[in-house]
């Protein structure tokens, strides 16, 4: 999704899918599926990994069916993420797994690192994951979409997807950035 030769790959995938070639779908799931699956699992905090995998595959099928509507210039990974997220939420609601988080306290939970000390990579990743788990649902939703679109999506589009306003998206992004700020390495 973040590779520099992505547009070319996406164009090829869309062309194959439009031609009705199942190879296009395989390529889509191979190139973007892994990333989307990881983001979806992390952002929706779902323990059932198979459900996420199934949702991504089903989203791929939906995209294959509507290949004529896809724009190869846009981010295919983002499309796949949004479709998979929608499918997964619908499925979870149907099976009544979906519930709102009862506790929200990311700021208190995450301690700021000591001055001038950069934690090792493995540990840093662990801490970031913890912060992500503790993020409020709205922030996780916005961050997930941003992540899936490689931080190239406009706030206006995110707002449209989530049914909220552009200003809300801006402020949500800033809050998330604030929560993750102290985990970033100090600027050189």
């Amino acid at each position: 999704m973040t590779a520099p030769d992505q547009p070319k790959g996406d164009e090829e995938i869309v062309a194959l899918m439009r031609a009705g070639e199942p190879g296009g779908l395989e390529l889509l799931l191979t190139v973007h599926g892994g990333r989307v699956r990881a983001v979806l699992g992390a952002m929706l905090c779902i323990a059932d990994d198979h459900a996420v995998e199934d949702a991504v595959c089903d989203a791929g099928l939906v995209m294959f069916r509507r290949a004529h509507k896809l724009d190869p210039q846009h981010n295919l990974g983002g499309y796949l993420y949004v479709s998979a997220r929608r499918l997964l939420r619908r499925r979870l609601k149907r099976t009544k797994w979906w519930h709102k988080p009862l506790w929200d306290g990311a700021e208190e939970q995450v301690a700021a690192p000591a001055e001038g000390i950069t934690p090792p990579a493995g540990r840093l990743a662990e801490r970031v994951r913890k912060v992500l788990e503790c993020l409020p649902t709205a922030e996780r939703e916005v961050l997930g979409i941003d992540l899936a679109h490689d931080f190239r999506i406009k706030a206006k589009d995110v707002a449209r997807m989530l049914g909220t306003t552009q200003k809300t998206v801006y402020s949500t992004r800033n809050r998330t950035k604030g929560r993750l700020q102290h985990l970033l390495p100090p600027p050189s």
Partner: protein, 249 residues
Amino acid sequence: MHTPDDERNHAEAMRRLLADAVPEVPIAATKVRATAARAVAEAAARRRFRRLGAVAASVAVLVALVAGYRWRWSGDHIDDLSFRQAIDITRVDDGYEKGRVQAAAGKVSMDITRMLSRLIERGALTDELKAAMLEALDSPVPIAVPYAWGVEDLRRKLEAGVALMPSEMAQLKQAIYAAVHTIRALGERREDMREITDSICFMFRRYVTVIPIEREQERLRQKEPQAEGGLQDPQSVRDPQDHEDKKDL
């Protein structure tokens, strides 16, 4: 102070941070292949469904065409026929025998005259309708007039004594045009029907010219004896002077 470069670097750092924290988890190759197989099967099913749908639609159209083609008026009851169907039968004989075409023409004229009678009784026959009738009767050649549905509704309304809206009057005018032109065309097309169609046209003309006056006079004539004590044969009423004469004798 933050510069755009700082912002970009910050976003890049965030991206790296999150990319490390959320590592890619590839989807199992077997699952990818199974999904592709499902896509192929679905596409085949969709194609099959589309083909079946097309076949079903064409069969339905065929059945409708056959049903439409095979529908023919039995000729037993004039009430089975709507005004529109009567117009159609009158316009193109369509293999109907003379008696049935004649009956259809009769139905057309009956519907129109019934409605005109109602309007005349109520004094609602407008000059516009009269002019339309006369124009249709006197035009040099009968012309095909596009005809709209709804004469049955109009007739029902008139029989119930409901006043017609301007749009309904326009509809009635169109029906009059269609009826007169169709009957005139029938007369010109079939020599053996000329006498009947001429008499229908004559009747139409009388309805918009003579009939109202005659009917009014007739109504008044009927009203006078009723006011004196019921209908009586004028011949049976004796002159009182005659009675006196007999007495003298």
